[in-house]
Amino acid sequence: MSEALARLKGVSRVYQKGKERVEVLHELDLMIPNGDFLAIMGPSGSGKTTLLNLLGGLDKPTGGTVTVGGAELSSMSNNQLSKWRSTHVGFVFQFYNLLPVLTAQKNVELPLLLTNFSGKERAERAAIALDIVGLSDRAKHRPRELSGGEEQRVAIARAVVSDPTLLLCDEPTGDLDRETAEEILKLLQILNREHGKTIVMVTHDPQAAEYASRTLHVDKGKLESRAAA
């Protein structure tokens, strides 16, 4: 493995729920090398998604630092984080989160609206991304006309269209049947191995985690490492 793409040092995340103080992550240290395919497992409420949110600049730690690609996210303003996310990170959600009013093609083009590409260039790049996930023939279809697996493929195409170094996947196969889930996981493997994407995937599913190069377990806000399958 090469140098670190992401590094978390002494990261804590505390939420205040009424008078109750809930510590979701406790002084957590983590290094993610460039090109890694990391699976994060753990029970519900263990802090997996919070960890993913911190890596993606969607949330800020209450203690410690989060550095990704040389940028220290914890000290950035909201607008700086927005700009950083648009170029450095792609997100894949459990329920796809495609915009129902847009076609697959237009959904994939969404992140490119934040660039200076012309309409033609945006369309070309979205077509390439759809081709990578094997959905060129579904470009004009709206999400409701696609199967769950196809929707997730479109979501992956949207995540990679702006060519980010880091892909963050939150339960990407949680809403899919076994066969479709395996297709998605193989696609993620290809993106990792052939396209050099660093992938961090949160999952409940041990079989899904087997597709990763290594697996970390989070429990009660702390990390424990186990050997990769």
Binding site: G56, L58, N78, S86, F91, N97
Partner: protein
């Protein structure tokens, strides 16, 4: 512009809801354009530049009569080519809903005042030879199927005949047309001498005077000279343009400007509630989608702008359609009310610009709270809620 496709599709996310909202905006702006144009038509005309006719009324109120003795004095004022008297007869034909203007006039003088009205010479002669004769405009003749030779009863709401009763019968001796393409001819003219003789009151008095200016006469100077002539007399005058006269006439029905303002105030208040509710619902049902946009890197300000633009776009679509329909309605109504609003009911550039400003303002007002909600939403919380 690159966000327009996204905004446009979001606007039409719920087609029925958006269509109904646009319809309510359309009605509001139709009323806005039409009522403002009507208000302008009835309150405008203050400027005398370019006026060819002036109207002399009682200084206190249009409903006060002026003495017939004013006529010769006005005629002698330099710059006055023709002057003649008119009065509001206030009658109806067969049914109270069949109302149209009727004026007792002096035939030759009236047609000299209004050269745009044309009628065959033999019909004019026949009218002048029959004291109970009347002439009607082509519009009126077509409206009620009247023709030369008919005898038409007019029930006056103001004047009683010396012989008793308020039903005045006239022989139609002529039908006149107009050369003014914007002018209407839905009116009846009968002879002032017959009116003065048969009427129970008001002999020696008239409603107002209309005068035609001589070539090159300055309307302001003539108006001032007339009013000065009767200053400090028991019947002081106020001389103005025909449009200003129409405004005075309209004021008899109430304060048009205030009525317009109150109606529009109520309409726009309701409109803001309707459009605001539409935008609130629209944002509420796509919290997760807005969170996804922010996740992808859309800045808070961009999300705010997208939601606000959706709101303004809905307002603009309904508003522009409404103003266009208001313009068409103004043309139609103006033509039908040409006697009261000689300049027509025109949706002016000023009204259109005001309407556009209102569309933007109302769009921002209706969308600002949902837009702020969208802007401030926490990505983590919104995604967790799904």
């Amino acid at each position: 512009m690159k966000y327009f496709g996204l905004i446009w599709r979001n606007v039409w996310r719920k087609k029925i809801r958006t269509s109904l909202t646009i319809l309510s905006v359309l009605v509001a702006f139709l009323l806005f354009a039409l009522l403002n144009a009507l208000g302008q038509a009835m309150s405008g005309g203050g400027a005398m530049t370019g006026a060819v006719r002036l109207v002399v009324i009682d200084k206190v109120s249009l409903i006060n009569f002026l003495p017939l003795s004013h006529k010769n004095k006005i005629a002698q004022i330099p710059g006055v080519a023709v002057v003649s008297q008119q009065s509001w007869f206030g009658g109806f034909y067969q049914d109270p809903k069949n109302q149209f203007p009727q004026f007792p006039v002096v035939p030759d003088e009236y047609f000299a005042l209004y050269p745009e009205f044309v009628m065959p010479e033999e019909q004019m002669e026949a009218w002048k030879n029959n004291r109970t004769g009347a002439v009607i405009g082509r519009d009126l003749a077509e409206l009620y199927g009247l023709k030369v030779g008919d005898r038409i009863p007019i029930q006056s709401t103001i004047f009683t005949r010396k012989e008793g009763g308020r039903t005045w019968e006239f022989d139609i001796e002529g039908i006149f047309d107009t050369t003014d393409p914007k002018g209407g001819t839905a009116l009846l003219l009968f002879r002032h001498d017959y009116f003065a003789e048969a009427n129970t009151f008001g002999d020696g008095f008239v409603g107002w005077y209309t005068l035609r200016l001589a070539e090159g006469a300055d309307p302001v100077e003539v108006a001032n000279a007339i009013d000065l002539q009767f200053a400090n007399s028991p019947n002081e005058t106020e001389t103005s343009t025909e449009a200003a006269f129409a405004a005075s006439f309209a004021k008899q029905f109430g304060n048009i400007a205030l009525i317009v303002t109150m109606i529009l105030g109520a309409v726009f208040f309701t409109l803001l509630l309707v459009a605001g509710n539409t935008m609130s619902q629209s944002v509420r049902e796509r919290i997760a989608e807005l969170a996804v946009l922010k996740t992808l890197g859309f800045k808070d300000g961009t999300v705010l702008g997208i939601v606000l633009t959706e709101s303004v776009l809905i307002m603009a679509m309904g508003g522009l359609l409404g103003v266009a329909l208001g313009w068409l309605a103004g043309l139609a109504i103006g033509s039908a009310m040409a006697m009261f609003v000689p300049g027509g009911i025109v949706v002016s550039t000023e009204i259109v610009l005001l309407a556009v400003a209102l569309m933007i303002g109302a769009g921002v007002l209706a969308g600002i709270f949902p837009a702020l909600k969208a802007m401030r939403l926490s990505i983590v919380d919104a995604l967790a809620r799904g």
